[in-house]
């Protein structure tokens, strides 16, 4: 079943009005794609191609120039319609330094006016799965980079949205930690029925994690390929060495025109 439909979505920024976090102006042109329920969709493209802008459009932080966003058959024309509907995880580390891990991860429920106590209870049960057991009363500044990202992911999961928008969640981590978190995400993924849009600039990561991959062109971003990743599950660290994986990668690289 189609959960999210994005139709002819375009956004250009005039004269550096909004600069991306890497300092360049991102724009997207005529994006059209559907996301099925439970699907893990990875989005890859060169930096500055507007991948982050797409997520910001969906999250209701930016208004498109044209096109529409339809969630569960319901169009969401204004930013306030979309705010509070997607589990958006920004690229930069956004744990609140003045809250403990536990108080950070219940933020979504708290802002929505839900019960903090039951949110804490839910969070405590998920802490072990997210490798945060025993760290619930820590300040974020005392955690490693990988743990901080897992805490931010837990916060996004707990907020209770159907669709998660993850903007390069492992982008700032060192290569080994990133590998570990990819394996971890593959292993916990089966326990959640979440639909995920996952931005990355790492082609191995995009193919390893995703059920489907969108390839973006350089700025302004257009979708140049929509590839099904029919690698069998469970996948692990050896998957990236399989011939099927390498064939997919060759194909994807051709579309990326690197």
């Amino acid at each position: 079943m189609t959960l999210l439909a994005v139709d002819s979505l375009s956004k250009t920024f005039s004269g550096g009005a909004r600069r991306g976090s890497r300092g360049e102006v991102d724009a997207v042109v005529d994006l059209t794609f559907n996301v099925e329920e439970g699907e893990f969709l990875t989005i890859i493209g060169p930096s500055g191609c507007g991948k982050s802008t797409l997520l910001r459009l969906l999250a209701g932080l930016v208004q498109p120039d044209s096109g529409q966003i339809v969630l569960q058959g319901q169009p969401l024309p204004s930013p306030s319609d979309r705010q509070g509907r997607f589990g958006y995880m920004p690229q930069r580390d956004t744990l609140l330094p003045w809250r403990t891990v536990l108080e950070n991860v219940i933020l979504g429920v708290e802002l929505a006016g839900g019960s903090r106590e039951s949110a804490r209870e839910d969070a405590r049960q998920l802490l072990p799965l997210f490798g945060l057991d025993g760290f619930e009363d820590n300040w974020p500044s005392t955690l490693s980079g990988g743990m901080r990202q897992r805490a931010a992911l837990l916060r996004t999961f707990l907020a209770g949205y159907d669709i998660l928008l993850l903007d390069e969640p492992f982008g700032a981590l060192d290569a080994l930690t990133r590998r570990m978190l990819q394996q971890w995400l593959l292993s916990v993924r089966t326990q959640f029925s979440k639909t995920i849009l996952f931005i990355t600039h790492d082609i191995d990561e995009a193919l390893l994690l995703g059920d489907r991959m969108l390839v973006f062109s350089p700025r302004p971003g257009r979708i140049t390929a929509d590839l099904k990743i029919d690698l069998p599950h469970p996948r692990d660290e050896n998957t990236i060495l399989e011939p099927e994986f390498l064939a997919l990668k060759r194909n994807a690289l051709a579309h990326l025109k690197l």
Partner: protein, 250 residues
């Protein structure tokens, strides 16, 4: 604050005091020109009851002045950050206001507000307002845009964004300002008293100086310093209490 970093400056201070005592004693410097540390201590001990009254008066002015400065400073900082128009209109004026010589204003305040507590409180407020307002304003501006994006994407109201993001994010900046203000505040009160007062350390210094009781002036100076240090430490303790994440290695 550990004991070790304070040990060295304390030792230097003690050495200087001993040297001072020896020089005054050896050169037989008259007490009304430069009193020795022991003479300053004696002046303090003899006048301690009266000094208590003056200290209480000065600290009352300081407390009210800081209270007003915090309220006004935080309000102005919030207003500035609430509206870009206000920011452009007021922020430069804030900086310019700081170039006004408060020392020259003090006698005028006496003319306008009389010899009561009001002009002293105003001087303290003028000294303290600027560091609090500018630091808090910078703190509110410095909130990471990604945090605000996160809150907006979660459908947070602007009130939630202020309470749960912008104000906590500005706290360290506010306390930097408050620490500067706390160290200025006692001096501010003394400036206010200097131009005319019935009670307070400022008028005590002025009277002692006029009577060539130099040791009394020095003892009041030492008390002023100690009071400023105490206020600074009190703010530091408050900061630790309110921002445990900044200090705890938990």
């Amino acid at each position: 604050m550990r004991a070790a970093p304070l040990f060295l400056p304390a030792a230097v201070l003690l050495t200087l005091a001993i040297l001072w005592e020896l020089v005054v004693w050896g050169l037989e410097v008259p007490k009304w020109i430069v009193p020795s540390p022991s003479a300053i201590w004696q002046a303090f001990w003899e006048m301690r009851a009266l000094l208590g009254v003056h200290v209480a008066q000065t600290m009352l002015e300081v407390a009210i002045g800081i209270g007003i400065a915090v309220t006004a400073g935080v309000s102005v900082a919030a207003a500035i950050n609430f509206s870009p128009l206000l920011q452009r209109a007021i922020y430069p004026l804030l900086v310019i206001s700081q170039t006004v010589p408060i020392l020259a204003l003090a006698p005028l305040l006496i003319i306008w507000f009389g010899f009561g507590i009001a002009p002293k409180v105003i001087v303290v407020t003028l000294f303290c307002f600027f560091p609090i307002a500018v630091n808090t304003s910078d703190g509110l501006t410095s909130t990471e845009p990604e945090l605000i994006d996160l809150f907006r994407s979660m459908g947070a109201t602007w009130l939630q964004i202020w309470r749960k993001v912008r104000l906590p994010a500005a706290l360290p900046f506010f306390f930097s300002g408050l620490k500067i203000a706390a160290t200025y505040s006692v001096t501010g009160a003394i400036v206010g008293e200097w131009v005319g007062a019935k009670q307070g350390l400022g008028i005590y210094m002025l009277r002692s100086s006029a009577a060539f009781k130099t040791a009394q002036v020095f003892s009041a100076i030492v008390i002023t310093s100690l009071l400023s240090i105490m206020l600074f430490l009190a703010v530091f303790a408050l900061e630790r209490g309110m921002m445990p994440w900044h200090f705890d290695e938990r």
